[in-house]
Amino acid sequence: MTTFQEQEYSKKIDLNLWRRLFKYVIPYKKNLIRLTMVMVAVGGIDVIFPLMTRYAIDNFVLKGSFQGLWIFAAVYGLLVLAQATNVKLLALNAGSIETGVVYDIRREGFDNLQQLSFSYYDRTPVGWMMARMTSDVQRIGDTIAWGLVDMVWGFTMMVGIAVVMLTINVKLALISLSVVPLLAIVSVYFQQKILKAHRKVRKINSRITGAFNEGIMGAKTTKTLVREKENLMEFKELTLDMFNSSVKAAIYSAVYLPLVVTLGSIGTGLAMWYGGKAVMLESISYGTLVLFISYTIQFFEPVRDLARIFSEFQSAQASAERIMSLIDTKPEITDTPEVLEKYGDVFQPKKENWPEIKGNITFKNVSFSYKDGEKVLENFNLDVKAGQSIALVGETGSGKSTIVNLLCRFYEPVSGEILIDGVNYKERSQAWLQSNLGYVLQTPHLFSGTVKDNIRYGRLDASNEDIINAAKMVNAHDFIMKLENGYDTEVGEGGSRLSTGEKQLISFARAILADPRIFVLDEATSSVDTETEKIIQDAIQKVLKGRTSFIIAHRLSTIRSADRILVISDGKIIEDGNHAKLMREKGYYYKLYTNQFMEEQEKEILGKTNI
């Protein structure tokens, strides 16, 4: 469990950021214009309805006449129809903007993630990236589209009402609306409080989730330590904290809503008082009084909404900062413009210009250190001929993985150079190198989809026959045929429906299908049964044949059959040679081999051990 420091974001409105976000709306500007127009219409009609009532009172009720009532009814009906149409249009247009913006930002974020260097992936938890790409993007889309709807509607209505009121009677209008500034202040104040309280609740909530996770994962240990009571006590502190914070957040809302209603009623009361007097003095009509009363009630609804939207825009701004920082992150390993010009990028490779690869590899005075300053390699030299297989042996942290990562250009040397067929690999494109390179991981990673899809990942235009041949070559065919639907069996998320050994075989088939000149194998330490072990060994030998290969090896048989064994310690080659030579030297390799030999023998008898 790693904790990743979340950056704190400012609360000020960042105009540049919003300008950038607005660019994502530009493709939908037609929708935007339509939406704005519709919203103005909606707000306008909402203002007209009370006017209709006023007209009815003044012209029918007070005059006691039916004349024109049918026309009035017809107009009312038309307004209703128009408003219903508007509602539909607003939902459709806002929906288009929301889904469009979300789609576009996700696509851009994903594209950038495909180009970012491994150093980024190493220091960024997957969950963090996932959150940017899912909930943060969604929040931006929601806020831009629906926040806009509420905002335009609210403003139109408030402005409309204010204008109508002022036109009809300035004094009465000013008196009725006198509570608005107070209401605005109260709203902004409470919305801030509510937003903050909710953030705290969410924070505690994620701690509770963590506690449940730990409670279940550690349950066996808890039982043996008889810690149930103490754990529960600790957990109860969390839930109590949650209770207090949630109630606090709820109380803010519970105070805020009635406060708005009461403030609104003051407006109504004022309208009634002054309006009533005016009616008696006959300076305004009955209808106008009723109109003002309705308007004061209607006016305060958008004020409440606007305050809420304001705080939503604040959270959206934080989301936007996060996702934009992801989009803005530049990959640390890039091809030079000349290289891109000649060989193309990963999305559009110019394969016709790609040179043939033989597989001679040279590390020339290579030094490497990670971002945090930890030195891994210093002046490392290595010369490998095409077709040679190299086994890298050594303890965890000795630098084996770094050598392989540098070779794959997942990282680049800090100084020195790596030559492939005599040319510095920086002079060729990343896509060229990686297309010629097979890489099989310690823990095989499969994608959801069928067995066939997963093997085809090695070469997308492979025929079914090619796929079956590749599977046969690594002895995977037999077990695949025994699966429920053969090659069309779904492997589940991350290949969860297959055993580790099966996943390894499929990943070998995938690599063989790609037919790379250079092959890198990070051998698994996880234990499989003896039978599968033999099958995998056999598969490895077939895969390695005729290719330049680097193996981070753990199994003796793999190590023994390599052309050259390199024992790595503290970033240096301390022993170099084939099995027979190193055994004669009786150095580190000798000791390692004898221990390992013993353990493998035991394993045959005892089954799985924890080594």
Partner: protein, 597 residues
Amino acid sequence: MKNFRLLWDFMKGNRLLYLASIISIGIATIFSFLSPLVIRYTIDTVIGGNAANVPLWVINIIDSIGGAETLRQKIWLCSIAVVLLSLINGIFTYFKGKWSAVASESIAQNMKDMLYDKLQNVTYDYYVKAETGDLIQRCTSDVDTVRRFLSMQLVEVGRAIFMLIMAISIMFSLDVRMTVVSMALIPGIFLFSTLYYMKVKDSFLECDESEGKLTTVLQENLTGVRVVRAFARQQYEREKFDEINRDFRGKVTHLISLLAWYWSFSDFLSMLQTGIVVVLGVYWTVSGHMTLGTLVVFTTYEGMLLWPVRQMGRILTDMGKTSVALGRIKEILDEQLDEDEEEGLKPDIQGNIEFSHVNFKYENGKEVLHDITFKVKKGQTVAILGPTGSGKSTLMHLLHRLYDYESGSIKIDGVELRNIDKKWLREKIGIVLQEPFLYSKTIKENLKMAKEGVDEDRIYQSARIAHIHDVITSFEKGYDTLVGERGVTLSGGQKQRVAIARALIKDCPILIFDDSLSAVDTETDAAIRKALKERKKDVTTFIISHRINTLSEADLILVMEEGRITEMGKHETLVNKPGLYRRIWEIQNTKEDILTA
């Protein structure tokens, strides 16, 4: 509906608060209905001078302050009345908000506590089978679904009912014919919302599923980034993601278009209903059947009524979700507890152990242990060797009462194990599991948890015996290092040693090491065992191991195969007999020969 009975049980202790909250909203609703009446009276009687059509007691009150004529002089009194009514409405709305939050949050709190408690105390077997992700979802999002239902919808239902009753009764008292007109479309709107939400549920589900797929593609891409790069499949991945991204966009757009249709149609019905009230109201007012104030009241009420009616559809669908969530929570709470059936004995434990003819089967009927018989004296060391699945760990789990044996007998100092209180027993037997778990607390807290209030010296001493003290002090924050904190990841062997130190904090007369030195190198293994011996001579110790060095020093060696003890004795005896022990011994002693061959 059966699940809602469970909800009723959960509400225990908070039911009164709920009642108070529903009553509050009832009162608030009454007051919110009163202010339009005041406005009506003001318009009709105070300003218009018409005779008031109000109950006698209201007239009495008004007469007591001087009648309509006084009010005419002081309209502000009417305004104050409106504000006051609103204020009272507000105060009760506040109480409703507060009480329903307190009630629902404390129910959620109780549910979480109960679930956590339950999950800590179910039988050992449960954890072997448990799916963590699913359990966590039940404990968090399912509880939250229930909480939301309690805090918002349940009270909302109460309010809607109050509103309907209030509105209908007041409206009827004012004008029967107008009431019928005002209600004309309401059943239609209600039915339409309900049917619509039932129908659109599938579409919501499709969106969720599509979003789930999008998440999966994203997650697999990010976790499999090395594979993607190794095969230079960025373009392919881009297309794959685009496809699902597009699909999700399409599904959401479809859902929104359904919602757009719903919103516009139900808005249409609602506005039409208001329109009908206005037009017919005007007609009847003009023809003298109704006063102007009544017309204003009716239009105001209409607006108040329509909203809750339209909400009902959603509330009903959410009730379905709540019921499912309750069912899932209930499944956990119904699990069997790991408790003693009767009050267990709490004998003084010395460490003499006797197994005789013990058999054990798992629930699925697979026999794991068969006719196990052996005897250990206080202070002896027993080493166990055997292939995977031979029953070594299970044997130790029986001793710890993580499982209970079926037949035969296990006695500690002459007391039948089954009769000893489980927790008492576990306090006395220290066990280090094969894959020990460290909590995400500091190392010190992890060690301390074996015995609250233990002094620091004891902690350091235990850590030294487990050969982990120097490793810990080499960390920047030493014993205060958070386990799992970025940068400090303990290796498997280090974790095992912390767990050993943790088991040593307490003075247990019996210690079990379930293959817990496997990730430690041979020399450290030997040093730890030596330190253990020196610490205390009379601790009965069980060690599961496959290292001959470890095994050979034991007072008694048990070799287990397929649930039976196949060899038993001291090193000297076993080495001279053909069998598993001798084979392992040969491998570990004759490596020189093999290598030179």
